[in-house]
Every structure is written in C-alpha cells, then in structure tokens.
Symmetry: C2
Subunit: 244 residues, 2 copies
C-alpha cells in the first residue's frame, strides 16, 4: 500500500455538520490542502497543521500538491465543501492518481448542499430527485439545458447548484424558463437557501414563476419540487409516495 | 414555540458517519423513535432513553407516536437511516404536522447512501446526477419507468435505491433494460455497494450489461455512470467536467 491521501467532504461549513470520521481524518493529517475559503471555514482548530491552498480554478495544481506532499511521507487531507464526490475534487484526484501509482486516494463523504439545504427548507427531495449545476465553466450549456429538459419530463424534484455568479446573472431565469417550457407549471412549489450552515443562513419558499426573479448568488442552493410538492406551514414538502 | 421534534438522519449506520449535530440531538432526547433495525444500529449508546419502534410499513403510526410523546412534554427524536429527507420520514412528519399545530418539526440531515456508497466506489456522482428508488410500494411502476427514461435521455449519472427485494427480484434487470433501450450503451461503467458503513461492506464495479445479473438486495445501492464515466484503477469515476 502506498501513501494514503484522503479527499474529505467537510459539509456546509459548520463543524457540527461534519461527520466524526471526517473530523478524525483531519485531526490525524499533517497537511491540509484546500481552497482558501474552505480552510477558513475550518476555523482555528487546525492551525497547527501545514495548510496549503491554491486560488479558484487551480484545482489540478491543488490536487498535485497533495500527491507531492504524500510522496514526502506526509499524511495529507484534501478538503472540499459539501461532499467530496459531488462537484468536489474526488474524481480529479482519482484521475490524476494514474500518474502517482505509489499513492492511494480514499474518499470521505460529507453532507452535500442538497441534504443540508433541504433540511432547512423542509423536505423538498423526499422522492426521486436530480442534482444539476448551472455552471458552464466545465460543461457546455447545451448539456445543462438537455438535463433540465429531462428533469422536467421525468417529474423529478431538483436541487440546483451554482444557480448564478457575477458572469452568469441570468442563468437561473433561463433554467426556470426551460423547465416551464417543458411541463413545469408556473405555480410549482420551489425554495432556495443561502449560506447553509454558515452565518447569515436565509431561506425562502416561492413558486417557480417567482423564482425567476429571486436574488441568488454562488452561495445559494435552489430547490424545485415535483408535481406533487406543496408548501405546508412555510416548509417545502415533496411527498414520499403518490396516492395511486 | 411548541414541542420540538427532530427528524434525524443517522447516516449509513456507523456512528462515525453521523454528524456531531445529529449525535447531540439524540443525546439530548428523552425519547428516540425509529424502525427497529435503525435503533439497533445505534447500539448501546442510547439504551438509557425511551426507545420506541413500529414494524415496517407502519410509518404513519411511528410518526404519530412522536407527536403524542412531544405533547407529553418529552424531547423526541425520530431516526431515519441515511438522510431524513431522502426517502426518509421528514415529509410525512411535516404533512402530519398540520394536525398537531402545537408541535414543531425540524429536520437534521445525514449522509445518504448516494454519498456514502459513492465514496466506497470512487466518485460515480461527481457531475449532475439522479437518485431513483425502484420500490413501487408507494410509487406506480410507470412513474419509475418514466424517470429511468428521462435519466437516460439526460445522460445523468444515477444512484439507484431499493434495487430489489424478495418480491421484486427482477426490478434491477428491468431498470437496466429500460436504460439500455434509451441510449445507455451496454459497456456503461457501473457499480454497486452492499451494507455501506456496516459490517460486511462489499463493492463491485461492472458494465450495465453485467449489472443485469448482479446479486443485489434491499441493502444494496447501485450506481450507473454517465456517458463519460470510467473505471480507473478499480474505482468508478464520473468526471467533473466535459472536455469540450
């Protein structure tokens, strides 16, 4: 067995939402690698470790640092927000691992925003669901559009990640319009949560028609109900079953 | 505010995969309600609590016990395996809550099998994905079939819950055939994990053609890659992005 590297999902940011397993892996690491914002989320707890970061979009470099440190014999953890294997760096690490046959990559799961955001809103994903990112940085928009159409046609509940950024201000509006053109009625029950598990958490429920004009940013996760979803007592609820 | 009830996702079963928040809620509860198997998974730790269970399919009764105990002034936690809001009892509790306006229901998220199983296999859900249950106990099969078709047409990675039971021995085979009839090539990279986070965890990767004959049961979670997924060094990997 080679030098072990752990790719660790730290959940939404609040330490109480990390698993004991993730916390233990970080405690036993000598080097913690991550995007600066995520290292800051960990707070004071791990300042005795060697903490290394690279800016956004330098993910490959961040991964290679892990392999190089592991080859020096260090115990290395690479942190990702949410779940390491859901839009995180687990897959890039496993791909690059081919070049570092003396290293082993293990994935430690965490609470992804689909789970943590859903809990804040109620139970929007309590039946079959899709998770779709609107970021077209690594995915052509046509493919995202195709997925939205399929999600609408399959009557899935949905969690939408990366609904907007400064450069993509109108992407959520575009997505809502595509869904409505493919069978999602304007009154469909929806909701969104900002800063899940961090300071300033705020959540709202609305219809998809209202969602078009919602103020969202890169810290927002959006939820779209299926045709059976309802807002009950201010909570967004997708039922477990269908009354046949 | 009224009597607070927590619906708690305990993750796959191993205490190290619960969040600190979930553990704290259980420690502060006086009554823990859950399906017998999940209560047993918690082990010795909470035997000082009043532990109440109902058999399978008596979920509504289980929920009502929570409301009744909360009305007695007890601190109540209802436990669900995985995430409380993903095929768990969060939505039923929020629906029934209309009848108990003096009670408040809060959801505490947990690691669902899509996350924990993916980590065992590698990174099969590292791009847009669907979660679909093959159980037709509460959902007509036609709707499940429609979702499978949509998932194939949208080129989603997939996590399949409840792939089989004694009465539904051939459901995974049926699902694989539907996917292959709708564009999933027979060589599509897949995998499955049994007893995630419990004794006797076992995992395998295969093609969807091989998956048709895989031995699965109600403790298995199945993963189907998207068109870009690969098996790399024995791990099932869905890439973060598409090389455009």
């Amino acid at each position: 067995m080679g030098n072990q590297i752990y790719v660790v999902g730290i959940g939404p940011g609040n330490e109480s939402m990390m698993t004991a397993e993730a916390l233990q892996v970080l405690e036993q690491s000598e080097v913690i690698v991550g995007y600066t914002v995520y290292l800051e989320l960990l707070g004071e707890r791990f300042t005795d470790k060697e903490c290394l970061s690279t800016p956004m979009r330098q993910e490959e470099k961040r991964c290679r640092i892990c392999f190089e440190k592991a080859r020096e014999g260090k115990r290395v953890a690479l942190i990702c927000s949410g779940d390491a294997g859901i839009y995180g760096l687990a897959s890039l690490m496993l791909e690059l691992g081919k070049e570092y046959p003396d290293c082993e990559v293990a994935v430690v799961p965490g609470i992804t925003a689909a789970s943590s955001g859903a809990a804040v809103l109620g139970a929007p994903l309590n039946h079959d669901f899709c998770v779709i990112s609107l970021s077209d940085l690594l995915t052509p928009w046509e493919r995202i559009e195709k997925r939205l159409v399929a999600a609408a046609e399959g009557d899935f509940a949905m969690a939408i990640y990366n609904p907007a950024s400064r450069k993509r201000a109108d992407y959520l509006e575009r997505a809502c319009n595509i869904l409505m053109e493919h069978g999602v009625e304007p009154e469909r029950a929806c909701g969104y949560v900002e800063n899940i598990g961090r300071e300033g958490t705020c959540a709202a429920t609305c219809t998809i028609q209202e969602l078009v004009h919602a103020k969202v940013n890169m810290f927002t996760t959006v939820f779209i109900g299926n045709s059976q979803s309802e807002i009950i007592g201010g909570k967004l609820v997708t039922k477990r079953g269908y009354r046949i």
